[in-house]
C-alpha cells in the first residue's frame, strides 16, 4: 500500500502546528518521522488518519485521494494507527481487545445478536482462532485474560499493534512505539515489525528513540516546529547539521 502525504497543514489560530508537510511512502516500506517535542509529529498523524481536520493538504492512498474521508473510513481503507498514550479498552481482557478489532463481524448488530445467534457463534470461533495466532505471535499468552488496563506500558503497545494486525491493515502507523518500553522489549518489538514488514505490511513510525528507529527504517523524515527540515537515509539525516541543531536546541530528551 503506497501512501502520499501532500502539503498537510494545520493551524490553531495564528499558530501553525503542521506546515505543508509532504511524505511519500512505497508499498511495504518502513518510514520514520522524528523531531523534538512539539514538532507536530502527532498532529501530523492525526491529520493523516482523519482524527483532526486540517487546513489544507491531502492524503493519497494507493493512488486514491482520501479528501474528506473520516477516520473510520481511512482505517477501513487499510491504514490503521496506534496512539502515543495507548488507548487500550481498559476494562476488557487482552483477548477481548483483539476480538473487538476483527473486521466485518456479523454479530456486531442487535438484529443478528438476537435472531441469528448460530451464525454469530460460528464467526466468533473463526475470529478466536485468529486472535490465538496474534497472541502467540506477540507473546501475550500470559496476559491473554488480564484486563488490558492492568498491562505494563510495553504490553499495551504490543496490544495496540495486535489490534492493528487484527484489522488486517496494510499500513500501520505507530505513534512512539518505543517510548517507555524497556530495551529488551524494544528489540523484540523491532523484530516483530521486521517480520510483519516481510509479510507485506508497511509501517510509518513516529519516534523519539533514534537509536532503535534508525536501525529499523529505510528513510527518515525530520520535523521541527511544524516543518519538515530534512529527509533521507537515516545515517545521512542524523549527521545533518540542521537536525542536530533542532534536537539539541529543541531540548530533546
Amino acid at each position: 500500500m503506497t501512501l502520499e502525504i501532500k502539503e498537510m497543514s494545520k493551524a490553531y489560530g495564528g499558530l501553525t502546528v503542521v506546515d505543508r508537510v509532504s511524505i511519500t511512502m512505497e508499498d511495504a516500506d518502513i518510514i520514520g518521522v522524528i523531531g523534538p517535542n512539539g514538532a507536530g509529529k502527532s498532529t501530523l498523524f492525526s491529520l493523516v488518519t482523519g482524527f483532526l481536520d486540517g487546513n489544507g493538504g491531502d492524503v493519497v492512498l494507493d493512488g486514491k485521494p482520501l479528501g474528506n474521508a473520516s477516520a473510520v473510513e481511512r482505517a477501513q481503507a487499510g491504514m490503521v494507527r496506534t496512539f502515543q498514550v495507548p488507548r487500550e479498552f481498559a476494562h476488557m481482557t487482552v483477548r477481548e481487545n483483539l476480538m473487538a478489532a476483527a473486521p466485518g463481524q456479523g454479530g456486531e448488530n442487535l438484529i443478528t445478536t438476537f435472531f441469528r445467534p448460530a451464525s454469530v457463534a460460528r464467526q466468533e470461533k473463526e475470529i478466536a482462532g485468529k486472535v490465538e495466532e496474534t497472541i502467540r505471535f506477540l507473546k501475550l499468552g500470559v496476559v491473554a485474560d488480564t484486563p488490558a488496563g492492568r498491562l505494563s506500558g510495553g504490553q499495551k503497545k504490543l496490544l495496540e499493534l495486535g489490534r492493528a494486525l487484527m484489522t488486517g491493515a496494510k499500513l500501520i502507523m505507530l505513534d512512539e512505539p518505543f517510548a517507555g518500553v524497556n530495551p529488551v522489549l524494544i528489540e523484540e518489538l523491532s523484530q516483530k515489525i521486521r517480520e510483519l514488514n516481510a509479510r507485506g505490511i508497511g509501517f510509518l513510525i513516529i519516534e523519539h528513540d533514534l537509536g532503535a528507529l534508525s536501525k529499523l527504517v529505510s528513510k527518515l523524515y525530520v520535523m521541527d516546529r511544524g516543518k519538515l527540515i530534512a529527509s533521507g537515509e537515516p545515517a545521512a539525516v542524523l549527521s545533518d547539521a540542521a537536525v542536530r541543531e533542532a534536537y539539541i536546541g529543541g531540548g530533546a530528551n
Binding site: 488507548r87 479498552f89 456486531e108 443478528t112
Partner: protein, 294 residues
C-alpha cells in the same frame, strides 16, 4: 401492607425497565442520555391514547415500545455523533420538547388535562388479583429485558459497545464507526423506556405532561450510579436502593416526627444530590463493583 409492597414492586419493575435501558446506554456504551424520561413519556402517551380509543392493551403496549423507539431516531440522527456531554444536553432538551408537545398538542394528548381512565391491564380482574397480575406482567418484561441484556453483554455487539465506552477514539482507529452502535443502543434503550412508560400509564391510570419531568431521568441515573454502572446486578441493586430510599423516607417520618414533612421533601432531594456526588467521587464503580471482567 401486602398491597403497598406489591405497589412498590410494580413501580420498581417499571423503574427497572427504565434503568436497564439507561444502563445499556451509559453503563455499557458510555452514552449520556439525560432525556430518558422523554421516551418514557412517548410510550405512556402512545399506549394511553390507543387503549382509550379501544385498541386492546396487548397491542397498545407493543405500539408504545415501537413508537418509543422511533421517537429516538430523530434525536439519534441529529446528535449521536456529538461529543458525549453535548449529546447529554441535546437529549435533555429533547425530553423537554416531548413534554411541551404533550402539553400543547391537545387534539392528540388532551393537553394539560391529561388522559384519565386509562384501562388497566387485565381489566377483567379487580383488587388484589389485579395488582398481582400487573406485577406478574411487569416481572415478565423485566426478566425478558434482563435476559436480553445478558445476551448483549456476551455478544460481539456487547464487546464493541464496551470498547466504545472504554475508548471511542480507539474504536474509530480500528475502522469501526461508534455512531452506528450508539444508535442501536439508543433505540433499544428507548424501546424499553417506551414499554416502561406504557406499563406506567396502565398502572397509574392517569397521565399528564407534568409527570414527565427531567427529575425522573435523574432518579434513574442515581439508581444506576449507586448500583454500579455497566453491571446488570448493579442496575437491579440500584433500583432497589432507589425505591427503598424514596419510600423509606416516608417511614423515616414515622420514627422521626420532629422532621417536618416539608423539610422531608427537601431532604429527599438533597439526599439524591448528595448520593450522586459521593458515589461519583468515592465509589464511581457503584455498589456492585467494577465492571472489569475477571
Amino acid at each position: 401492607m401486602d398491597a403497598y409492597l406489591i405497589a412498590i414492586a410494580i413501580v420498581s419493575g417499571i423503574y427497572l425497565l427504565l434503568a436497564l435501558g439507561l444502563n445499556l446506554q451509559f453503563g455499557l456504551t458510555g452514552l449520556i442520555n439525560f432525556g430518558h424520561v422523554g421516551f418514557f413519556c412517548v410510550g405512556a402517551y402512545t399506549s394511553a391514547i390507543l387503549s382509550t380509543n379501544g385498541v386492546p392493551v396487548a397491542w397498545s403496549l407493543l405500539a408504545a415500545a415501537l413508537v418509543g423507539m422511533l421517537a429516538a431516531w430523530p434525536l439519534g440522527v441529529i446528535s449521536i455523533r456529538l461529543r458525549e456531554d453535548y449529546f447529554a444536553i441535546a437529549s435533555l432538551g429533547f425530553s423537554e420538547i416531548v413534554r411541551l408537545v404533550a402539553t400543547s398538542e391537545g387534539w392528540l394528548t388532551n393537553g394539560v388535562q391529561g388522559i384519565a381512565g386509562i384501562p388497566r391491564i387485565f381489566s377483567g380482574v379487580t383488587g388484589q388479583s389485579q395488582a398481582i397480575a400487573m406485577l406478574a406482567i411487569v416481572t415478565v418484561f423485566c426478566v425478558l429485558a434482563i435476559l436480553a441484556m445478558r445476551r448483549i453483554v456476551r455478544s460481539p455487539f456487547g464487546r464493541m459497545i464496551e470498547a466504545i465506552r472504554d475508548n471511542e477514539e480507539a474504536v474509530k482507529s480500528l475502522g469501526k464507526d461508534p455512531a452506528g452502535f450508539k444508535m442501536q443502543v439508543l433505540l433499544l434503550g428507548s424501546m424499553l423506556a417506551g414499554l416502561s412508560g406504557a406499563l406506567y400509564a396502565h398502572y397509574i391510570g392517569y397521565i399528564s405532561p407534568d409527570q414527565f419531568i427531567p427529575f425522573i431521568t435523574f432518579q434513574i441515573w442515581m439508581a444506576i450510579i449507586m448500583g454500579g454502572v455497566g453491571r446488570i446486578s448493579g442496575t437491579v441493586a440500584g433500583v432497589i436502593i432507589l425505591m427503598v430510599f424514596l419510600e423509606g423516607s416516608r417511614f423515616l417520618r414515622d420514627i422521626a416526627p420532629f422532621i417536618p414533612e416539608v423539610a422531608m421533601a427537601s431532604i429527599r432531594l438533597g439526599a439524591i444530590g448528595l448520593a450522586l456526588m459521593l458515589f461519583t467521587i468515592y465509589r464511581p464503580q457503584g455498589l456492585m463493583g467494577d465492571y472489569t471482567k475477571r
